[in-house]
Each structure stands twice: as C-alpha cells, then as structure tokens.
C-alpha cells in the first residue's frame, strides 16, 4: 500500500492544506509540484453530496488570464472562441473555462483536473507568440496566483450563496456559463456557473489571501443545508 501523500512534500500548496489535513483528506499528486485533495474518505458520499451541497478547493488547479489590447483577437487566433458578451463564459475542448470579464480581459479556469490542459495550451500559445516578438496579444494575468478557487455545487448552492451574496444566482436567473463579478461576505469575487452534468455548480474565485477566511464562511453557511467539503474527484 503506497504511503499517503503529504502536501508538505510538494512546493506548491493550497493556502488551506492544513484544514484539509485536519479533515482527514486523502491527497493526490497532480505533478511533482502540487498535490490536491482527492477525497476526505468516502468518495461515494462525496459524489452524493455534490448533488446536494458540496464545497471543493480547486485553488491549486490551473488558471490564467489575458488582459489588454488584442485579447479577443489572441484568444480567437489561438483556436478558442471569445465569449460573445461580458460576464459570460465558454467551455474549451477539455472542459476548461474561458470567462470574459471585460472587452479586453478573460480569465481561464480549470474546473477539474483534466481541464488543466486547456489552460496550459492557451498559455503556451501566448508565450510562444510573445517570445516571437508579438506584442499585440494582451498580457498574462496570473489568476492562478491572485485568486483562490472553490467549487460550490448542488441544489442548495444558490440558496446558500444568497446568505452571503446579493446577486441572484438561482438556476433560472443565473444560467450555466454566466459570470458575475460581485462581492460575497465582503470579499470581491468572480462567480462562474459551470454545471457538473445536470447539477448546478458555481466556481468562486476570490483573493487568494482570503482563502482560509472564505472557506470558513462557506462551511458555516453550508451548515443549515448539511453541506460537505468534497475532494476534486467528486467534482469531475
């Protein structure tokens, strides 16, 4: 039986890896740099929780962003659609999200591990063109570093979010792949709806320095709905 994976053995760590350890998390290595929570013990229970109310820490998964002149052109030339409207998102081929925050800014997010390929591919294209001297392809925005990322899923997710956020995130109002740039629990936040199958799921992106604060807020808010923390395996 292989030794359990310790996130301390990897250089990149979620700001709340100690909380995960305290909850008895089982970690899985993404590469030699990162280990994320696979589950907290009972994967079956976590799968079921995802449909009710579940919180997963995706902070260590790949993200990125492009900002500035040439942003939309670059994205489209790279073979990806540029979302047609601000505050909407599109899915890339492997499940990565590209969310349009303004006319000249997008954020890319991997909502699950396999989708990381989309994020890195787009970044590689940018780097190659930049290295080739192309100055008109916007700038990298290090959203993997500036933002923490949680997945909040389940039928109670929107109702729970109503306790901390003024934006109406209910199913029939905030559609799949809609984006909201808002405040939740006095914290600036980007909310992207990215359903898991037919289950409503919200990706919450916030100041990475507030990851521990915000985890506590959501765990508290989930209490009345019996929400549970789940690992990344449950939100694929």
């Amino acid at each position: 039986m292989p030794a359990p994976i310790n996130p301390n053995d990897f250089p990149h760590r979620s700001p709340i890896y100690r909380i995960h350890q305290g909850l008895g998390a089982n970690f899985t290595a993404l590469d030699d740099q990162r280990a994320v929570v696979a589950d907290y013990g009972d994967a079956g229970v976590e799968k079921a929780a995802v449909a009710q109310l579940a919180l997963a820490d995706l902070t260590l998964l790949a993200r990125g962003g492009f900002k500035g002149k040439g942003c939309s052109e670059f994205v489209q030339q790279a073979g990806t659609y540029f979302p047609g409207f601000n505050n909407t998102a599109l899915l890339m081929s492997k499940g990565g999200l590209i969310a349009r925050l303004s006319n000249a800014e997008v954020m890319t997010v991997a909502p699950h591990i396999k989708a990381e390929a989309d994020i890195s591919a787009l970044r590689d294209v940018w780097q190659a063109r930049r290295d080739a001297g192309d100055q008109h392809i916007a700038y990298l925005a290090p959203r993997d570093l500036t933002h923490g990322c949680f997945s909040l899923s389940g039928e109670h997710a929107a109702t729970m979010m109503a306790k901390i956020c003024a934006v109406d995130l209910r199913d029939h109002v905030f559609g799949n792949l809609d984006v909201a740039q808002t405040l939740a629990a006095c914290t600036s936040m980007v909310v992207i709806r990215c359903d898991i199958g037919k289950t409503l799921r919200l990706l919450l992106l916030f100041d990475i320095a507030q990851t521990e604060y915000f985890w506590g807020i959501i765990i508290d808010a989930m209490g009345e709905f019996s929400g549970k923390p789940v690992g990344t395996n449950a939100v694929i």
């Binding site: 990897f10 250089p11 990149h12 760590r13 979620s14 700001p15 100690r18 740099q33 990162r34 902070t59 260590l60 900002k67 500035g68 002149k69 000249a104 100055q135 916007a138 700038y139 925005a141 290090p142 993997d144 570093l145 500036t146 109503a162 306790k163 901390i164 956020c165 003024a166 934006v167 109406d168 209910r170 109002v173 629990a185 006095c186 914290t187 100041d207 990475i208 320095a209 507030q210 990851t211 521990e212 604060y213 807020i217 808010a221």
Partner: protein
C-alpha cells in the same frame, strides 16, 4: 402546577406534548405550540405585566403580538412578546416593570396621584430649581424608564442575513394574500408569501363568517393545499415584512435572519388591526379584543371567560359571541348600534341561540376586583348621544369583555411607501391612495371585508401585479365589492373617574389627549410629541384612530383632516442582532502565516492582514525585538513581506504612466533596475511609497504600502479612465509571497538556493538591481533593497510556493545564524537607518519637503499628480519640519510615539517614531518640530506620558550607516 383542560380542536397546540416553564418563579404547564401568554391564560394567570406609568395590571389584549401588554422578560432578552413567543421546556419568564411582585406592585400606588402627573408634565418638571435635574431627577427617571433589563453579558444567538429575489412578494397570508399568491403563481410569477403567524390563513383560522363556523375553515384548507402544491410559491410563516424601501426592497425578518428581498411587484394583504373601545377600566385583564378571544379559543383551546360580555359595533361581534357560546360560556351582547343596523346572518344566529342582546347601548365602566387583577362585571347603559350614556345603568357580572367595535387597516408599510391614508367620517371607512408603482393592496386593508370579495380582491391585486410584470392573464382587473361598515364611528365614552385609556402603552387617557389640545397642540403630530401618544412599543396601532377622533373633535374638524401620524420603518420591533446580522470581517493571511505561529510569532493586525510583530516566548517584548535587530545587524534575518502591495503595470505607456503618477522619473529607468517610488496627492501631500521594478520595456512590477495598495490601485484605475493610456493594471499583491532576506550573511544564504549560473555578487547583482531567477527551484523576482540598512534581497515567489521557499531559506540559513524577524523589529531597523514609513511618520499634511524627501521629486517633469501644489506649498513653507533626534541612554521615562514636542509650553510638533536603539545604545526617533528649531545641534523639548520633559538633540536622521556602505555590500 396549575393545569386546566383545553377546548378541543385547537389549531396550534399539541396537547400530547406538555411543556413546563416558569413565570415569576412559579411553574406552569402548557403544550407544544403554546405561546407564553396562551399557556399562562390556560393556567388561569391573566395578569402579564404592569403598565408603564400607573403600574396597572395588564393582560391579553390582541393575542396577536400587536400590543405592549404582553411584554415580558426572558433570560438575557427583555421586552419579548408573550403572545408571540412559544414556550419551551425550562423557559424562565419574568414580568416587567414592577416593584415587589407582579401581583402586588408597590408602585401601583402612583395611580392615586395621577392628577399630579398630567399629560406632558415632564416637560415642565425636573429642571427647576437649577441643578436638581442631574442630582435628583435623572437617577429616578433612569430607574423608571424602560421596561425590561438588558443583560450586557448575554451572548446572542446566531444572526445572519440572506438576499431574496421574487416577481411578487405578498405580505399577509390571510384569504386575500393567499388568493393573490395563488393567482400570481398560476400565471408563472415567482411568489414569496410572508405571514407573521405560524400557519397560513389569517382570520380564517379563528374568525367566523357563517353561523356554523365551517365556511372559512374549509376555504382556508383548500387554499393551503393549493399553495403547498404550487412550485413557485415560497412560503415564510412566523415572518414579518418589517419595512418597505424604494423599488420594493423589503426587510423581511424570520427568526434570527433578515431577508433582504427585492420584489418586482408588492402586494400588501396584511389585514386589519382590531381597535379598542374606550370606557372606564378598559385596560384591565379580562378586557380584550373580540379577535383575541377567538384566537384563544380556536388556536389555543382556551376559553377566555365563563361569563362573557361582547361589546360590538359591527357584525363580527356576533361571531365572537357564537364562538364563546359554543365553547360553553354564558354570553350577553351589548350592541352599540340600533336593531335596524344589526341584521346580519351572525346576528340571527345569536338570536336563535338565545343570547341576550342590549341594542343601542355601550359600556360605561368595567368593574374589577379590589386589586384590579381581573374584571368581574360591567356597567352599561343606553347611548344617549355621541360619547354619552344615559344615567340609567345596568350591571352584568362577567369575567370577560370582548370589544368588537372596528378596525384600522394595517397601513404601516403602505404609508412607508408614501401612501396616504384617507378616512370617511360619514362611513368610518378607511382608504389608502397614492401608492408607488408596483405596490398593490388586497383584502380588508383595501376596505374589502365580505369573504367572497376578499378572495376576489386578492385576485384583482394579482392581476395588477401580473400587469406590472407584463404577464398575460385572464384575471378580472376590477370588481365592485359589497360595502361593509366595520367601524363604529365613536366608541369612546367618558367617565368621571377617568381610567378610560386611549393609549395602553403610555397610560394616556381621554382627558390627556384633550388637555394636550387645550395646551395648544392642535395637530396630531404635535399631540403625539407632547403626550407621547403612539410612541410606545405598539407604535399607535390601537391608539392612533381614537386619538385622531379626539383631536378632530377637540379642534372641530373631521378625522380625515387630522390624519394619522407618520409611519416609518420598522413596522414592528427588530433586535440589534437582526440588524447586525452575521459580521463579516475579512482576514488576509500570508502564505507563511501558519509558519509564523509555529515559530512563536506574535500576530498583530495590519489592516486586513495578520503579521508577526516579533517572535519569542513573549516574556520581554522589547528584549525579543532587540535580539532580532542585533541578529539582522550581525548575521542575517528573514521577514515575511507578503503584505507589501504589488501591482503590475503593463503596456506601451507603462513608464509614462508611472511618470505621471509618481514624483520620480521612470522613462529612462533601465530594465533590471529598481527605483524608489513616492506618491503625492493633488494637494502635494505624501500618501504612499514603494519600489518600481522594471521587468521589461512595457512591464513594471511595483510595490506599494500594505495598507495603501488598494487605494493606489483604485486611484490608478480612476486616473487612466481619464487618461486612456495604453496600460493595464493588475493587483498582484496576494499573488506573490514576499520575504526580505537581510543582513551581512544574506548573500551567503541566497547563494545556497540559486544555481551556479546566477550571479548574485555585488557587481553582478548590485544594490537596487532586479533579477528573475529560481530560488530553491521556484521562479522568483528578486531585487536588492536596503529598507533595514543591510545587504538585502527581497524575494517574491508565487504565493502557493512561498511557504516552501520560506522553509528552504530558513533551513539553509541555519549555519549563518538566520532568524525570522517581525514587523516591529523591521520598524526599529528602518528607524536606525533613517527610513520613514508613510502613515506613521507622515500625516494628512506632510509634504516631501517637510520629511526631507525632495530628492525623490523630479522637477524636470512637466506633470505629475501633486506637482503644482508642491510648487505652491514650497513658496510658503509650513511651520514644521521632520527631524531626527537623540536622547541619552539611561533616561527613566521613555518617550512614546505621539508624545508632544513643546516650545515655551506650546505644542510645535510630535514624535512619530522612537526606540531605544540596541545598535546605537541611545534613544532615537523622528519628530516634527518648529521649522526654525530644525537645525542639527539644536535641542527640542519632548514631553513624556508622565509629564517628564526631555531635551532631545537634533541629529541627522540617518542614524546608522549614513554612507549606505552596508546595504551596498
């Protein structure tokens, strides 16, 4: 323990679940679903409180949480409504506002001197002779004021808030509200239906519209079932819509949660509030609204009296009488109207039941036992004219008087929205007009009382709401309701012994209102302020109409001309906990936060951040700080600077942008070099500083103060919204974990963490140089700065890897004596070096000239923010100047930051930084002093906290290593 049988079929209680609680130390038993008041009534305890002024016994009046008679004290919570608060096992309830005991209140004697306490007496008392108010009256008034006791040690429950969004919100879950909700929902609208009671139905749950009393119950059950099956109706019971704000923003309170609800359309169907009649002793236990008696019987199974008198001025009183009769009471009816006006079905039912009806009569006085704990009879007579009763009186022995003489609409939310209340003095019917768009009324609140009409009125309101939502429907938009007169025009009868109460909260009698008018307060708003009518906990719910009638009569006007007092939010009481909700206090943690705790760091809050001030066991803070200072000076230290603001300025105009925003020059700043940043505002005042690292021609990574970076970022975004320069600004403060490796051994430590190809020698990586290379295998931005006055490397790495790098640096630094140091230590180090801190050594007026930073201002630039102001301020320099000072070691009284600098005993400045330097063995500091004194070698006078005066010598502020040799190593 007192236990009495309940009536069968009570809607809200479960007689299989007994619950035990105490009231005034005595144990009582009620049932699950009982309120405190119903459980006490069920046990025969009718006195619940004492009145505010005369300490008269008071009991159930409305049984609807709409009066102050039932305010009681719970542990840690005063002024709880006993007729709304459910009992729980072990609940301890106390009465309020008495001296001695509730049943024997010593202060009730005050009633005997009532004539010396006329309305508004306090405006004329308590302040003469001069000085008596504070010494004599204030302690007495404070002791008498208020009702319950606040336990400041009590920890409240869990309060929070939630947002809600609905097409239609319906406030009031009675027949009209349920009808409106169903009609709106059936056409696709999302509906929130709010009701303050535990179950939907409103008056249908207790009132009677037909002789057999089954019609309303059956209709209610049918509507409840429809609502339960409706997917788009959200029902909140035990919930009050407490305020209306513009655009239908509604404060909806359920328990400990405030729902902040946005409604596209709002339907107010909150019903009506039954009003009291006014007669002698109309306030005593045993006198209650007819609807209160119906609630007690039908909701809680309690017979409120065995011998009842129903005083009625409308047809509803007959329903009350029938309920009482069926429950086993002996009932007589005193009908204020003539026989010709009382021909409704329910009247016929009473006649058929053999109840005795005294037409055209009114109550002259209620009789009570010696202690006035409960009424025991009624004295009544024929109405001889408006407000007068013929001299021939009759007596009835009774233990219950029910008043059914009229209603006022529950108009508060409508009036909050700007609605105007109308009143027809001829028909005694209310109306509400001038409502904002999207605000609709339904039911009795809208002047519709007949059962079928009420339901139709709910549908009509829904139709209007659907119109507002632009939803097609086939509902009737209008109909003509049957006119029902529910208000007797003058249910007020004077008595020579007064005690005929208009306002139960404030103990105001008929004569008080009349006297207020005689005093010259001839408008209701003025009467309110002078007499306090309507200013108690009930907020005039049962006083406003009768007070308006009395003012109208006294001023020879109509009630419609007098109007009612202004209604403002909230509609009913709300706790501070509900208003506060859950407090969100965002905290920001650096990636190394938990390492600091493990290393013994003493955390201090810096804005939203937590930072270690210093490390150690904490026995001697100063010694621990000084130890860290010495280690940086002699070996090497490591400080977490992740909180330092970080901004990326990207774009072709990046250098030009910085040139405009900061005072220094950046156009020619070489790539790979760092340069100091000083920011001034439009007034030329220093507001921030940092370092600009030029990473590429079009890319700067700049730092800002920890507490100032968000403001700096906002300012930059705002400026560029006007300038339209080709730049992008990204706040990357939290993206990087920063650490400053400082001390003579810093290079040796860093060398162990970088590859051999990286040249970090003094020549290859000089002071203010900037490099990007891997540290411990992690890509890093590294620049050489000298904030603490030693050889130093500021290392910025991705936040997710910062803890790892921190660990690696500490590990390899062991052989060189590395120790972490904290923020307080850094402040000492930079003071020794002579570096100022924005916000600590500057204030809202500090100019670069005052703080000796003119070297950081480039005069050649045509423009930067604050340039013009600096030029103007330099023409007429301020009267102060920042200086460095020194005191000899060994002084017994240590100066503190903010201590004053005096000259001829007048303040000329203050200390901004001070410490007994472990490196220089002297007390050094920065201070503002009079400009004319700011010469090296002069002395300034510093006044310590204990009054000690020190003569401080002004010296160069570059206390340590003035040639900068150590930081350039």
């Amino acid at each position: 323990m007192v236990k009495r049988a309940r009536l069968p079929g009570a809607l809200l209680i479960d007689q299989k679940q007994p619950i035990t609680f105490t009231f005034e130390g005595k144990t009582y038993q009620g049932y699950a679903g009982d309120t405190i008041a119903s459980a006490l009534a069920g046990a025969g305890q009718w006195v619940l409180s004492r009145s505010f002024k005369y300490h008269r016994p008071r009991g159930i009046l409305t049984m609807a949480g709409q009066d102050s008679n039932t305010l009681v004290q719970l542990l840690g919570m005063p002024n709880v409504l006993a007729d709304k608060t459910l009992i729980t096992d072990g609940l301890q309830v106390e009465a309020q506002n008495y001296t001695g005991s509730l049943m024997n209140d010593k202060e009730a004697e005050i009633s005997k001197v009532a004539r010396f306490l006329p309305v508004g007496f306090y405006y004329r008392a308590f302040f003469r002779p001069k000085g008596i108010r504070n010494r004599i009256w204030e302690p007495i008034i404070r002791a008498k004021a208020g009702l319950g006791k606040v336990d400041t040690r009590h920890r409240g429950g869990y309060y929070d808030k939630a947002y809600g969004h609905y097409d239609v919100v319906v406030a009031g879950g009675g027949l009209a509200g349920m009808s409106a909700a169903i009609s709106a929902a059936q056409h696709g609208a999302s509906v929130l239906l709010v009701d303050e009671n535990p179950i939907l139905g409103g008056a249908m749950n207790y009132a009677r519209a037909d002789i057999k009393g089954k019609r309303l119950r059956a209709r209610c059950a049918q509507l409840r079932q429809t609502i339960a099956e409706s997917a788009n109706i959200t029902v909140m019971t035990d919930t009050v819509c407490n305020a209306w704000y513009v655009d239908h923003w509604l404060a909806v309170i359920k328990g400990c949660r405030l729902h902040k609800v946005r409604a596209k359309q709002f339907i107010l169907a909150a019903g009506s509030l039954e009003q009291p009649a006014i007669f002698h002793n109309n306030d005593l236990p045993g006198v209650m609204m007819g609807s209160a008696a119906q609630r007690l019987m039908n909701l809680y199974g309690i017979l409120p009296g065995k011998n009842a008198v129903v005083l009625t001025g409308n047809d509803d009183g007959y329903g009350v009488a029938l309920e009482l009769r069926e429950a086993g009471a002996q009932v007589q009816i005193i009908e204020m109207r003539d026989l010709a006006l009382a021909q409704a079905t329910l009247h016929d039912g009473c006649v058929a039941a053999g109840l005795r009806i005294h037409y055209g009569s009114a109550i002259y006085a209620a009789k009570a036992d010696r202690n006035m704990h409960h009424i025991n009879g009624v004295e009544f007579g024929k109405i001889a004219g408006k407000g007068t009763i013929a001299k021939e009186h009759q007596q009835i022995s009774c233990d219950l008087i029910c008043m059914s003489v009229g209603y006022t609409p529950t108009y508060q939310l409508a009036l909050q929205a700007g609605g105007k209340l109308g009143y027809d003095d001829d028909t005694a019917i209310f109306s509400i007009e001038n409502l904002p768009k999207g605000f609709h009324l339904a039911g009795s609140l809208n002047g519709v009382f007949a059962t079928d009409d009420v339901q139709a009125d709910g549908q009509r309101a829904a139709a209007q709401a659907l119109d507002g939502l632009e939803i097609t429907h086939s509902l009737a938009a209008d109909f003509l309701p049957v006119m029902v007169q529910v208000n007797h025009p003058w249910p007020i009868f004077e008595h020579p012994d007064d005690k005929n109460f208009v306002d139960f909260d404030e103990d105001l009698m008929v004569k008080d209102i009349r006297n207020a008018v005689k005093e010259g307060y001839n408008e209701l708003e003025l009467v309110k302020r002078f007499s306090t009518v309507g200013m108690g906990p009930s907020q005039g719910r049962h006083a406003a109409l009768n007070a308006a009638r009395l003012v109208a009569e006294a001023t020879d006007r109509q009630v419609r001309d007098v109007g009612v007092t202004t209604a403002r939010p909230p509609f009913s009481r709300e706790t501070l906990g509900v208003m506060g909700g859950r407090v969100f206090s965002p905290e920001r943690l650096t990636p190394m936060h938990h390492r600091h705790a493990e290393l013994g760091g003493h955390a201090m809050r810096v804005g939203a951040w937590w930072r270690p001030g210093h490390y150690g066991v904490g026995v001697d803070r100063v010694a621990e700080i000084n130890s860290e200072v010495r280690n940086v000076r002699e070996n090497v230290g490591l400080i977490d600077v992740s909180t330092l603001g970080g901004l990326e300025i990207l774009g072709a105009d990046a250098a030009q942008f910085l040139n405009r925003v900061y005072t220094f020059a950046y156009l020619k700043q070489p790539i790979g070099r760092a340069r100091y940043l000083l920011m001034t505002n439009e007034a030329g005042t220093v507001i921030d500083d940092g370092v600009a690292c030029r990473m590429a021609e079009d890319r700067f990574y700049i730092t800002a103060t920890s507490s100032g970076v968000d403001r700096v970022c906002r300012q930059m975004l705002w400026l560029n919204a006007q300038w339209h320069m080709d730049i992008n600004i990204i706040n990357v403060t939290a993206a990087y974990g920063g650490m400053n490796l400082a001390g003579p051994n810093a290079r040796k430590v860093l060398q162990k963490l970088v590859s051999d190809e990286v040249d970090i020698s003094a020549e290859g990586f000089p002071y203010m140089g900037l490099r990007e290379f891997q540290v411990a295998g992690i890509p890093a931005i590294v620049f050489r700065v000298g904030f603490v006055g030693e050889l130093g490397y500021e290392i910025h790495v991705p936040a997710t890897a910062a803890e790892y790098v921190w660990d690696q640096v500490l590990a390899v630094g062991q052989e060189f004596g590395i120790q972490p140091f904290g923020l307080e230590t850094q402040r000492v180090l930079r003071l020794e070096k002579g570096h100022f801190i924005v916000g600590q050594d500057t204030d809202a007026m500090s100019t670069a000239e005052e703080i000796n930073m003119t070297w950081a201002i480039t005069q050649k630039k045509p423009f930067f923010i604050g340039k013009r102001s600096i030029e103007l301020r330099n023409r007429a320099l301020s009267k102060r100047k920042k200086v460095g000072f020194r005191l000899p070691s060994g002084i017994t009284s240590m100066p503190q930051e903010s201590n004053l600098v005096l000259k001829n005993n007048k303040m000329t400045g203050f200390i901004s930084s001070v410490w007994l330097s472990p490196t220089l063995n002297a007390v050094i500091g920065f201070a503002y002093c009079a400009r004319e004194d700011a010469q090296i070698g002069n002395h300034i006078t510093i006044k310590c906290d204990d009054g000690t005066l020190h003569q401080a010598e002004i010296i160069s502020p570059h206390f340590y290593d003035p040639d900068n040799a150590r930081q350039k190593l």
